[in-house]
């Protein structure tokens, strides 16, 4: 499995939708999660910052939930983009998803200082709705499992 994300779907989001605190490349203060295709799965690699503490030594659950959230919407965007005949980096604007729901089961304390890998499996459950099952691994331990229902961005997100 690749340890570096080369082509990420977030690199192709149009600039106006690239401000997400989790995964927006334009947001200077954000996490900059980047999600790629990896075989028939998807992958995001992220090393939490030292301040992302739960109990000292372990990663804050809210950051793990954030990683799962953006990994879910990014994975859904990859899946629909490919269904539409495109690939990351081909110069076409990908669809943008928002999160309908997010579930996280924290299986064990997640150690700090280790790159986390979010691995996603995407399933289309409606033409505009995708379910993404996510596992978060720290080295050889699966620390959290999540499920994201990602929905094509509705119009009321852009009326502002």
């Amino acid at each position: 499995m690749e340890e570096k994300i080369v082509k990420a779907i977030q690199d192709d989001y149009p600039e106006e939708f690239a401000w997400c605190f989790g995964c927006g490349r334009m947001n200077e203060d954000g996490h900059h999660f980047r999600t790629a295709l990896d075989g028939d799965q998807t992958i995001t690699i992220y090393t939490p910052e030292p301040e992302h503490t739960a109990i000292p030594g372990f990663v804050y659950g809210g950051v793990i939930a954030s990683l799962i959230d953006c990994h879910g919407t990014g994975s859904a965007a990859i899946a629909l983009h490919r269904k539409n005949g495109h690939e990351i980096g081909d110069g076409t604007e990908p669809p943008r998803f928002v999160t309908g729901s997010l579930k996280v089961d924290f299986l064990r304390p997640t150690p700090q200082g280790t790159p986390l890998k979010a691995i996603g499996s995407v399933e289309e459950i409606h033409p505009k709705k995708f379910k993404v099952d996510v596992e978060v691994w720290a080295a050889d331990e699966c620390c959290a499992k999540g499920e994201v229902i990602a929905v094509v961005m509705p119009a009321n997100f852009t009326n502002k």
Copy 2:
């Protein structure tokens, strides 16, 4: 409903467990969520920072998930502390919870620039496990609903 949190359970956490990025008073870079009793419910009030963007104008879901997460563990700590005969601020160390699972349904886009109120209802489902139902309100709109299963902190969180 009070608009300011006066006595928060997080103010009473022992210092070694007060470093949480979400709710730890010792974590300079964190959100500093503070959770109080409000009648038979619990409340956390938090205004996301300008950088906590999803799509510009709306709050990032990972921050809403974080708010629900720490509101859940804080609410469970309040409930067990009170069951043990104590109140916030009485000088007794409250129990510390971790998150077993977290569910968030995003009902509508959450506007930025508005204080968010997380309101919790706590139910004991096991002597060491509490379910907290959470609603997140922005002004008079309920923008997200969540459920946290909070578990008394197991020993493997402190062996490090």
